[in-house]
Structures are given as C-alpha cells and as structure tokens.
C-alpha cells in the first residue's frame, strides 16, 4: 500500500452526519469526499477511485442495495453501510449484495474506525502475497496450513464441518458474515434454508473455543444478521 492518505467517499444525505464524518475521518488521516445522492456518489466513485466507501442505505434518489449492486458490477472497493435500527432484512440484503460491513445508527466513532480498518485490511490482503497462514486473536490460534486449532496453546479437536466453519470465519476475520454467506461457503448453495445447522455448529464451536459460551468473546452474534469473528 502506497503511503498516500487513504481516500474515503461518504454517501450520505444528511449534512450534519456528513460534517461529523468528514471532520472525524480527516483528523485520522483520511482524505474524505462527500456525496449527498446516489447518482452524485457513483460519479465521485468513478472519479476519485477511493479506497473505501461509506454508504447510507437511506439515500433519497436510489435504493441503497441497488447502489451496491451497481458498484459491484465493476469495482471491489470495500463498502461499509450505515443503516437505521431494526432494518435487519435490509442489512442482510446489502451484505449479500456485496457490502463488506455495516453500522447501525446511532454509532460511535470508535466502532466506525474499527470497521473501516478491518475493511481496508481485507481489501489489502490479496495484494500481500506470502502471508503466513496462521491466524491469531486473543487466546485463539488457527494454523490454516496444518489445520491445527488451539486455545491457550492447547490443541482443540474439531470435526471437519466445525473446522470448515471456523476457517470461513477466520478468512473474513473481523467482518460480519450473513447466515447465507456462511452456509454457502461451508455447506454449499443447497443448504441456504438451513440456518439452524449453522446455529448448532456455531454453538458447538463456542463450547470448544469459548471460556463461557453464554458470554462469547470471539464468536460474536450479529443479531438477526449473522456472525463475526472478533479480530481486534
């Protein structure tokens, strides 16, 4: 990654949220451009070639999910969406359409910054070749080459499906994954309707990896949307 300031485009119709994002993000060294409408945003996107897009799903002129589909037709730029509370279905649609992460309004700046960093890291990874295939977070260590999982340096035995599930989460560590996305990657497209499979295996994984499965520290549930492996 070149040492220039990362470029972020904020597509958001509310001026005061735009102002707050611009001020805060600039302070943290981002180069921020703003767009108040979907059309304007798409133009900016073509011109600025940003490193990340923050997209409000409630744009006045276009449906947020349509914006994501339009972008994904030609760009892999990471997208973090902002959505209203209790719009689980909309979040899922946006994530399935290709958004990388989401934040529910109102949100704290800390959370936003964490999401942006995860998204940027994931976007950067394919470029970094020769990355060692060992993932570590807190007390969990996953050696993807040797398929070895250990907690507090104690090896944990996982079934093939449990391992596959963990591997998918590790691959997208820090990012939210919808039920559909996980089911699709672990079991294949024909299991899309069986979200309870996923929940049971998730529960089994927690039993094996978490100190207290009722107070998970690693395998977090994103209520009504999916799961996230905590990675920061």
């Amino acid at each position: 990654m070149a040492k220039t300031d990362p470029v972020i485009i904020v597509m958001e119709d509310d001026p005061s949220i735009r102002r707050f994002l611009r001020t805060s993000l600039s302070t943290y060294g981002f180069n921020v451009f703003e767009a108040g409408t979907g059309k304007q945003g798409l133009v900016e996107l073509g011109v600025r070639k940003p490193d990340l897009l923050i997209l409000d799903l409630g744009l006045p002129d276009m449906d947020g999910v349509d914006v994501i589909r339009a972008i994904r037709a030609w760009s892999v730029v990471p997208i973090v969406i902002l959505s209203a509370r209790s719009g689980e279905q909309q979040k899922i649609e946006a994530l399935d359409a290709g958004a990388d992460d989401y934040l529910t309004k109102p949100f704290g700046f800390g959370e936003l910054l964490a999401r942006i960093r995860v998204a940027l890291r994931h976007a950067a990874r394919p470029a970094e070749s020769g990355q060692d295939n060992v993932f570590m977070t807190a007390n969990l260590k996953v050696d993807l080459d040797n398929r070895v999982v250990s907690v507090d340096d104690r090896e944990v035995h996982l079934t093939p499906i449990q391992y596959r599930l963990l591997a998918v989460l590790v691959k997208h560590a820090g990012k939210v994954l919808t039920h559909q996305q996980i089911l699709n990657e672990v079991w294949g497209p024909s299991f899309r309707e069986n979200a309870h499979y996923l929940r049971i295996y998730m529960s089994q994984l927690r039993q094996k990896l978490e100190a207290d499965p009722t107070q998970p520290k690693l395998l977090l549930t994103e209520s009504g949307v999916g799961y996230r492996l905590k990675a920061w």
């Binding site: 509370r85 209790s86 689980e88 279905q89 109102p106 704290g108 079934t159 093939p160 499906i161 449990q162 979200a195 309870h196 499979y197 929940r199 049971i200 998730m202 529960s203 927690r206 207290d212 499965p213 009722t214 107070q215 998970p216 977090l220 549930t221 209520s223 009504g224």
Partner: protein, 912 residues
C-alpha cells in the same frame, strides 16, 4: 269531554303536519266528473305556464290518446321515456319512477292517478308512486275522475251500474295541496263524445257507452262538485282553526265502526267514512275476535283483514280486539277512547233467537250511555249490483299473494262421527248389562258420560250425533214398549227430552271449553316464545348474537326462514352479515330492504310496495330511528298478516330493536371509554416524553455549549467528563426513542415475526455481549439445563426482552449485585427467569409493572419512560408465552417468561 283548551297533542300534530308538508312536494290534482272533460288538457296548460316561469317541468307520463290539441301542448316540454316491462309475452309501458327520482325535476306531470301499475312494478298503484315522488320533495300534477275515489266507489256503483276497481284512497285526495276542478256541462261532454273527441278503450266500448248517459253524467258532475266544495269547506275550517283555535276548536266526535266477518263489513266501513267526513270526526274501525270467531275458516278471516286494510286506506284507525264477548269489549274500548258514536250492523238474530241469545246491539244500547248508535241494514233484495260485490270481496284474495287454504281436516272430522257411533254402541252395551239391575236414570247417565267423552275429544258435531243416537237407542231398547220408538209412559218423554237437551248443552259447553283452552294454550305458547326470546336477547353481547337469536326465534314462531339486514356506514343496505344459520333466509334483496329502511314501512310480498319480492320486509326500529330490516319468507302469508300474528311479530321486532339499540349504546359507551383511555395514554406519553427526552437534552446541550464556548479555561479532565456526559445522555435518549418506536410498532400490529430456530444460549450470549458495559462489575450467572432444545422465536425480539429485563435489573439494583439467568423446561414450554438481588418489587405492583408508562419509583433520577416491561409483555405474548414478575423468597425480584415448545425442533444427524 268538555275541555275547552286546545289539546296540546292536536297542536303538536298540526305543527308536525306543517313541517312534513314543507319538506314534501306539493300535489295538485286536476279533478273531473268523467273522462273527456279535459283534465289532461288543463294539466298541460298549467304545466306550460310553469315552464314559462322558468320552472323545471318534466312530463312523467301523459296519455294524449292521439288528440291533436292536447298533443300540441306537449311541444317544448321535456318528456320522460316510459319504462318497458315484459309481462306474459307482451311489453307494457309504465311510468319510470326511478328515472324520475333520479332526474329530480321541480314539477312532474303524472296523468291518471288511479292507474294500476303492471305486475313487477315497485308499487301496485300509481298513487303510491306519486306519494314517493312527493316524499322526495318533487311537486306533482296529476288527474283524477270522481268515480275513482274510494269512498264514492259504492255510490257511483249504484248510480252508474259500473264498479271500478281502480280506486284512490280518500286520504290521498284530501291531502292534496290543491285540487282544480275541471268542469264541463254534460251536454257539451256528450257533444264531444259524439265528435269522437273522447278516448274510449276499445274493449269496453259498450259498457262505457252505457256509462255516458246524461243522467249518469249529471250525477257524476254533482258528486265531483260536491267533493270539491267539501274540500273548500274543510280548508276554511282549517284556516279558522289555525287562526283562532280557541274559539272554533270543538269537542270532536269519535266514531267507532264495529265490523264482523260478514257481508255488511265493507258497507259499514264506507258508511263510517261518510259519517266521519261529514262530522269531521276521527273514526276507528274495530273488529272483535271472540273465541268463536277465531275458529272461523281462514278465508273469512282474510276477508276481515281486507276490510281492515280498506278502512286504513280510507283514513280510519283500525284495531283488532281479542275478547271473549263482543259487546263487553266494545263498551270497554268505547270508554277508553271516548267514543261517542257507534256504527254497527243491524242484529242478525231475529225473533226468538234474539230474545233468547241476546244481541250485541241490545247490550250496547242498554249499557253504553252517552253513545249514539247507528244501525246499518243489510242490502239484500236491492237489485243494483249485478254480482253481490261484498261477497265478491270476501271471495277475493284479501292481500296480493295470499292463497286460499283448502281445509285438510275432513278426515279427522269424519273419524269423530265414527267415534260418536262407537261410543253410543258401547254405552248401549253397558246399559244393556245394567238393564234390569239398576234404575233407568243410571242408564241415562251412562249415555251422558259417552256424550261428554265425545264432546271433549271430537267437538260439537260428533257429540250432538252421540246425544241424538243415545236418545234413540235409549228409547228403542230400554223404554217400553221395547224395540220401538214409541213411548208408552208419557213421563219418559220428559226423560228423553231432558236427555237430549242436556246432551246438546254439554256438547256446546265442552266445545267452548276446549276452544278456550286451545286459545289459552296458544296465548301461553306465544307468551312463552316472547319470554324466551327476550330472556336470550337480554343476555346477548353482540349484534351478531342478537341476529342469531332473533332469526332462530322468528323461525320457530312463524316457521319462516328469515334474516336481518343492516345498513353500512353510509346508510346503504348490505347483504346480511354472517354468521348464517340453518334458519337464515338466503338471498334477501338489499334494494327492497333499502326502501323499507328509508321509508320505515313494511314492503315486499303481500304488501302494497314491491309486491313482486319473494320475502316480506319489516323495519326494525327503536324509539327514534330505523336500525335494520327483517326479511322474512313466509311459508304462509296468513301466519304473518293475521292481526294477532302481526301484533306478535311487532312485539318481536320491538324486542329485537331494543336489544340492538341496547348493544349499540353499550358499544358506544365502550368506545368512548376506549377513547378516553387512549387520550390518557397519549397524555402520559407526552408528559413522559417531554420529561425523559428533555432531561438528557438539557445535559447534552449544556455540556456541548460549554465545550464550544471554552476559551481554554476547561481543564482536560473536566472537558472529558462533559463529553462523556454527552455520549451517555445521547445513548439514553436513543434507548428511549427505540422503546417508543418498538411500542408503537407492536401496538400497530405492524410487526412481522421472523421466527427461526435458535439455541437459547446464543440469544443470551448476544444480549450479554451487547450489555457488556452496563453490566460491568456485576456477576451474571447463566444456568441452562443440559440438552435444552432450540426455541422457535424471533431472536431480535426475544433479545429485546432480555435486554429490557437486564437493563431494568441494572437500573434498580445496587451496583455490583449479582444477576441470574435461568431456563427450565416446563410442560411444553421453556421458562426463562431473570433474577436480581435488589430491593424487590413493591407489594401489589407485580402486574401494574407491565402497564404502559408505569414506573414503580417516580422519584428515581434514572427512570425510563416505563415502556420496557410493556414491550416485554407484548413481545412475549405475540410469541404465545406469558410474562410475570414476583419477589423471590431469598430477596430480590424475578421476572419469568415462557416460550411455548409446541413444535418439534428440527433434527440433524450428528457429525461425530
């Protein structure tokens, strides 16, 4: 009856009449002595004058009969097209009342007031169409010949020898706002007739020629002039009453016309009408139904019905009195109603029968003081009627659609006679066995016992037969000389005579007792039916229940399928509401019901309005308005239209109307209360929001402006504190707004559950992660049983329940105290408990906690709006569970909610 003051009721009636008139259209009748005097011509002239005054004139129906002068007058007037009615293969042209009502002209011309409409029209008679036009506020011009006036029908029949069946009730004529007499001297009319200027229907040419004799025409002219003069007289009296009521108001006469089921009835009614007219008196036509009369054949009772209907049309009030004795009933009624004149037929009993059995007239004369009695003789022997019309009237079906019923009881009667013979034979056998051993008087008793038996079981005829047979057998077998009908000892003649008389008297007595018992049983049954319906209605809770109860009882009383129709919010009648029950009448016609609803009058089959309808439609009303319409399909119209049945039906309908209005009132009261409740909620919501939103806002604005205006004086620690305050308060506000929105969504029922299978552990885990900060420093114990099944729920919502419960616990218990979350499997439900170690719930408030905007401790600074628990309850209940609060024995509060496990969790093969 010597009150000099004007009767307030009368005054009120006058005011009401005036008001009704102001709303109604004005009726002008062009009145003439006979066809050809130029009524239509005069009417059209008047119409053209109005047209010239720029009034909206419409010709509804005018038959010019091809006369050129009349035809010419139609030019320039708007003519309404006639309606075509297919009837038995021919097309009839009729006045189109619906089109006229829709067009709503200022004045409409409708010729031939006495015309009878084609079958299938709304009303059988044109005058009824006109009445509806007037009620709709449209002025009407029409034409009428004197012979069509109902009360003159009789007289003109006598004069001209022709009876017309197309008649117009006198009341209708009298209520006309204006009557213009179109007069033509008879000679001129005859001249016009000769010139062919008078239209005569082809088929009746000869009869009509007979009618147009000079003598007839003079008489008709006199009648029409007199009628018009009477009207002018009446108008003048009215005027004087209006302007000097006190002086002119006199004690008015009240005339009672008593009719019986005989040929005289119609003449009595007409005579009564004439008397009432000449005295300008109120008149009442009464029919007394004695037990004997109730046993009368149905056809005769129908005749009475028809006469009563006729009397109503002539403007009389009609009553049917039910009493054991006619004279007593009439005297009592006369006293009650201050009758001072009675019109009654001449006694039918003559000679010794009248002397022996008495007559109503004699009793009336001797008992009714201050009442003048007018007797009317029988018309027999006078040859003016080709066919005895009164008989004809009785033979005619009294109501359109009412069928004669053929008595089907001959077989049973015949059986009675057989029984009479058998009983006599049995008595004779018993007598034969007793003969010689006992006195003859005892044998007589045996026969009389037989007669009593027959009388109680089989009625008058068989018991009389038994008496006569008994006397015969007794004489033949037991009275010397034996085996002969002659009597040797003349004292036995007395025995035989006494036996016969006693036998017949017993027969009569028994029959009357039987009949009275039957009537009493009938009455009792009716009273019981009414009682049982009113009892059920009294306990009914909804209109649907009332309808079901009403339909069921009406069916059992009138054996007719029926249904009740109600109007929708805009007053249009709707098809009957569900639920339909076995007794319901399918296919009621809302358009007929609409008419009934709008006019508050009975219509349909057997009535004067829309007689083509299959069912009869009755309005159901309370004191001030029509509530609905009953459609009843009578198996037999008699069951509905006989006076006592009609009274019963009216009582039923009144009961139903009262029940409906009772329910409507209580519904109204309930909805008012609900509105008040909603109002209260809105108020508490407003006060809660204004308090709970303003407090954090005050902190936020205060802190933020302090930082904004800071000129470097704030030290970094204070600055940080202020900013932390802003974030915390904003978070509180955000929670509050979320709660309010959740509640609104739950209340609006707009929430769709996204139910899926979840391990309970995952839901609890999510919540504890989310509340990490709020629960910091508190030990949280989670106890889930081994192998707990997955639950089917909307995870986001159940999480919300847990969040609210845990937040409450954190808010109301001392910092650092522990919390417990436990689950148990319990009778096909998971029971989840959130318990704390705080001060517990104030006694008696365990339920109130779940009410909206309820807070157990108002004084606490960190209060919410009081929505959290209400939201919990709503969510748990949409999941089919229950939630409650209690104090734990070991201290602290526990909130327990259940989620049903009514579906088997999906299974999955184990992988290991």
């Amino acid at each position: 009856m010597n009150n000099e003051r004007p009767d307030p009721d009368q005054l009120l009636a006058r005011v009401e009449r005036d008001q009704a008139k102001a709303r109604r259209g004005r009726l002008k009748i062009f009145f003439g002595a006979a066809a050809g005097v130029g009524k239509t011509f005069a009417m059209l002239l008047a119409a053209r004058e109005r047209r010239a005054e720029n009034l909206d004139v419409l010709v509804g129906v005018v038959d010019t009969h091809g006369r050129k002068e009349t035809q010419a007058l139609l030019d320039g007037l708007e003519v309404l097209p006639l309606r075509q009615i297919e009837y038995k293969g021919t097309v009839l042209h009729e006045f189109d009342i619906d089109a006229a009502l829709k067009r709503r002209p200022g004045i409409i011309l409708v010729d031939e007031l006495a015309h009878s409409n084609a079958p299938g029209s709304r009303h059988p008679k044109r005058w009824q169409d006109i009445r509806e036009l007037l009620e709709a506020g449209i002025d009407v011009f029409t034409a009428l010949n004197v012979q069509h006036l109902e009360s003159l029908n009789d007289d003109i029949g006598q004069i001209a020898g022709i009876r017309v069946w197309e008649t117009v009730p006198d009341t209708f004529f009298e209520d006309a706002d204006e009557v213009e007499l179109v007069d033509l001297p008879p000679d001129e009319l005859l001249l016009r007739l000769k010139e062919g200027k008078v239209y005569l229907p082809q088929q009746a040419q000869e009869a009509v020629q007979h009618f147009f004799r000079k003598g007839n025409l003079i008489a008709l002219r006199e009648l029409s002039l007199r009628q018009t003069a009477n009207r002018v007289d009446a108008q003048m009296l009215d005027y004087r009453e209006d302007n000097a009521i006190r002086d002119v108001w006199q004690v008015s006469d009240r005339i009672l016309v008593c009719i019986g089921p005989n040929e005289l009835a119609e003449r009595l009614v007409r005579a009564g009408k004439r008397l009432a007219n000449s005295l300008r008196a109120e008149w009442i036509v009464a029919y007394v139904e004695t037990p004997q009369l109730q046993r009368m054949p149905a056809a005769k009772r129908d005749g009475v019905l028809r006469i009563l209907r006729l009397a109503e049309q002539l403007g009389a009030e009609t009553v049917t009195l039910s009493a054991p004795e006619m004279s007593a009933a009439l005297i009592r009624f006369s006293r009650e109603r201050n009758i001072n004149k009675i019109v009654i037929g001449k006694p039918s009993r003559r000679g010794w029968r009248r002397w022996l059995l008495g007559s109503v007239v004699d009793v009336l004369i001797s008992h009714a003081h201050n009442i003048n009695i007018y007797l009317l003789g029988s018309p027999r022997g006078r040859g003016w009627v080709e066919e005895p019309s009164e008989l004809n009237l009785f033979r005619k079906s009294p109501l359109p659609g009412l069928r004669q019923r053929i008595p089907a009881k001959t077989k049973r009667r015949y059986g009675g006679y057989v029984w009479a013979i058998a009983v006599t034979l049995f008595s004779t056998t018993v007598g034969y066995l007793m003969f010689g051993r006992l006195e003859l008087a005892n044998l007589v008793m045996v026969y009389l016992l037989g007669v009593v038996f027959v009388a109680t079981r089989f009625g008058r005829g068989p018991s009389v037969l038994a008496s006569v047979l008994g006397v015969g057998c007794f004489d033949f077998l037991f009275v010397q000389p034996y085996h002969s009908f002659s009597v040797a000892d003349s004292q036995y003649l007395i025995t035989l005579l006494a036996m016969l008389v006693v036998g017949i008297v017993i027969s009569n007595l028994m029959v009357n007792v039987r009949a009275q018992a039957k009537v009493a049983a009938h009455r009792e049954r009716r009273a019981a039916a009414l009682y049982s319906m009113s009892k059920e209605l009294a306990s009914s809770q909804s209109e649907e229940q009332v309808v079901v109860i009403a339909v069921k009882h009406l069916y059992s009383e009138f054996s007719s399928p029926n249904t009740i129709l109600f109007p929708d919010a805009s007053g249009r009648m709707e098809f009957p509401r569900k639920p339909a029950i076995a007794e319901s009448l399918p296919g009621a016609d809302p358009s007929v019901a609409q008419w009934v609803f709008d006019h508050n009058e009975i219509a349909g089959h057997g009535t004067n309005t829309l007689p083509g309808a299959r069912a009869v439609y009755f309005p159901i009303h309370n004191e001030d308005k029509v509530l609905g319409v009953l459609a009843l399909l009578p198996v037999n119209l008699r069951r509905v239209f006989l006076p006592e049945q009609q009274k019963l039906l009216e009582t039923f309908l009144r009961q139903i109307g009262q029940a409906i209005s009772r329910i409507r009132f209580s519904e109204q009261a309930r909805s008012t209360q609900m509105q008040m409740e909603a109002e209260r909620l809105r108020n508490s919501l407003l006060s809660a929001i204004s308090h709970d939103l303003r407090t954090p806002l005050a902190t936020i604005i205060g802190s933020a402006s302090t930082i904004l205006h800071d000129e470097g004086k704030l030290n970094p620690r204070d600055r940080l504190e202020l900013m932390q305050g802003i974030v915390d308060e904003a978070g509180r506000m955000s929670n509050l707004v979320n709660n309010i929105l959740d509640m609104a969504k739950l209340e609006a029922g707009a929430l769709e559950l996204n139910k899926q299978w979840y391990p309970l552990e995952e839901i609890i885990g999510t919540v504890l992660t989310l509340l990490h900060n709020q629960l910091a420093g508190r030990p949280v114990k989670v106890k889930l049983p081994e192998g707990i099944p997955m639950i089917l729920a909307d995870s986001v919502m159940i999480e919300q329940v847990l969040i609210n419960l845990l937040e409450n616990a954190a808010r109301y218990t001392p910092p650092g105290s522990g919390l417990e979350i436990e689950a148990e499997i319990n009778d096909a439900a998971v029971e989840i408990t959130v318990a704390d170690h705080g001060p517990g719930i104030p006694r008696g408030q365990e339920e109130r906690l779940f009410e909206k905007f309820y807070q157990s401790r108002h004084e606490m600074a960190q209060s919410g709006v009081g929505l959290g628990l209400a939201i919990c309850r709503a969510i748990v209940e949409v999941h089919g569970g229950r939630i409650q609060a209690k104090n734990r024995d070991e201290g602290g509060a526990a909130f327990v909610f259940t989620l049903p496990l009514d579906q088997p969790a999906p299974c999955m093969e184990a992988e290991e």
